[in-house]
Amino acid sequence: MSPADTNAADTNAADTNAADTNRADTNAADMKAASMRTVMAVPSVVRGRAGRLLVPLAVVVVLAALPLVLGAYPITLASRVLAFALLVVSVDILTGVTGLPTLGQVAYFGAGAYTAALVGIHWTSNAAVQLLAGVLVATALALATGAIVVRTKGIVFLMVTLAVGELTHQVAASWTAVGGTNGLAGIPPISVLPGGPALTLSGFVYWWVLAVFVVVFLLVARAMRAPFGRTLRGIRDNEPRLRALGQRTYSAKLAAYGLAGAVAGAAGTLWTAQARFVSPTDLGFDVAAFALLSVVIGGAGSLWGPCLGAALVILVRDEVSDYVDGRGPLLLGIVFVAGVYLLPRVRAVLGRLRAREKGFP
């Protein structure tokens, strides 16, 4: 488990326990002391192996229960957040873990979304088939383009991936077979069981989206804690050194690019499943920029943080925007600046608290 992940589990645990341990301390100084105490007062159960399972499990249970308490519109929004969060996870695999900042994941997101749409219109409404087809097409596209793209790094990589994203956008916008600028509409609702009923209710679609999100997220998290993830972090930190240790980094980077493409493709099929409409706008530059922004806000390298960043970005863009005269992107810009300034400080304070807890000066 990466340090960031442990950090996450512990602070989450601290939050959930804050209610129990916060006594009648009311003034600000005491509150600060209390919050410090709660960090130290986390029961060992929550801290250990069980805790690492408990917190994510609680999050999944809460997410799964959302359709029982929320109406149709908020649930659609939640589906959109999850689909976008999966795209952000794919960006994070490259940007946060491997150290390759990318604007190109929308290409594979788009490949997944369009494939799912075409399969839905012309072949079957089975969501699993759409998912599989979308992932396959996206992975194939990612490996084909990645073979060239991963030969670059840094700002060149950023620019080449931008080109990949924009080219895909242009193809989608000008190719009449996929609807051109109008996109693809009239996609029938998905069904999960073969020959089963079509899921017209947004709650059921949400559960499908959530299920795919959780499975893919867990697979990615597993891979990032395995030797593969360690190798990718090695590339991020010092690629020439890894080569000097005898590791061919090209194949590792291509594998990471393929994996990220597959995840983005899965995200694309989920996007289609909840919106039942795809257009070139869904793979435009602003989507790519927002995905990268989510990774930065959420903390590159950790997997759950960028998902929170994704939620924030979608909420501001699609919801809060209406209350500020449609100036959501401006607000996001401010959030971004604030995030870049404040997050390192917050992390430093948390780090100091954790260090004190461990008994280091």
Partner: protein, 257 residues
Amino acid sequence: MSDILRLDAVSLAYGRLTAVDKVSLSVPKGARHALIGPNGAGKSSLFSVVAGIRPPTSGRIEFDGADVTEVSEAGRAAGGLVRTYQHSSLFLGCTVLDNVRLAAERVHGRPLRPFRRRRRDAEVTERAHAHLASAGLPGRHGHLAGSLSHGERRQLEVAMVLACEPSLVLFDEPTAGMSAAETDRFAELVERLPEELSMVIVEHDLDVVFRLARQVTVLAAGSVIASGTPDEVRADEHVQRAYLGADSTDELFTEAS
């Protein structure tokens, strides 16, 4: 005894400047071979050619009986020809243990396996711990490599090189920037390394060279001007001239006080 490394008329030119000029060299198995020479002699260029960072302009490099002239740096390292860095080059954002595990994984695991396997992973971790211990760094495995001191980073480097289980180590000025005490510690560490491990040391510090090396090759202006035991090289008049441009060498080879 067979040679672990053999260079056959290796040249490297940058445009019209020939940095390495038809250098031939053979290093037997288990050798402690030093490569010295005044500034600009082509030591670093030769080093990068042997390590596989730059392809030679002409000539042939044989490692362990196989022609590796066309093999990449990673390929040579995987085959057992491992280099060190003049300045510590670590994975600073990873833990000390992960730094060594990255090396051990390549030898004993599958670095691209996307899931954990308890037995295999534990084996790699165990090896990493053993290498950390033999480099004198036990108990620091959980710290970030970026939080280590300069001396500790050099020790971690040694642990990483050992974890590659090399048959030949190329040291690139290993004691550059070290204090006298650190240099001494480092020399002790190298002296303790197993006998069957071959070494080529590129070094400025002649005290270290004469302490560690059993064979010395002297480069000047891209060519080999002398080769032999430390005593032979010390007495060689070409070497004396290359270093000092004169025949007074007393200062150069007297013991440092």
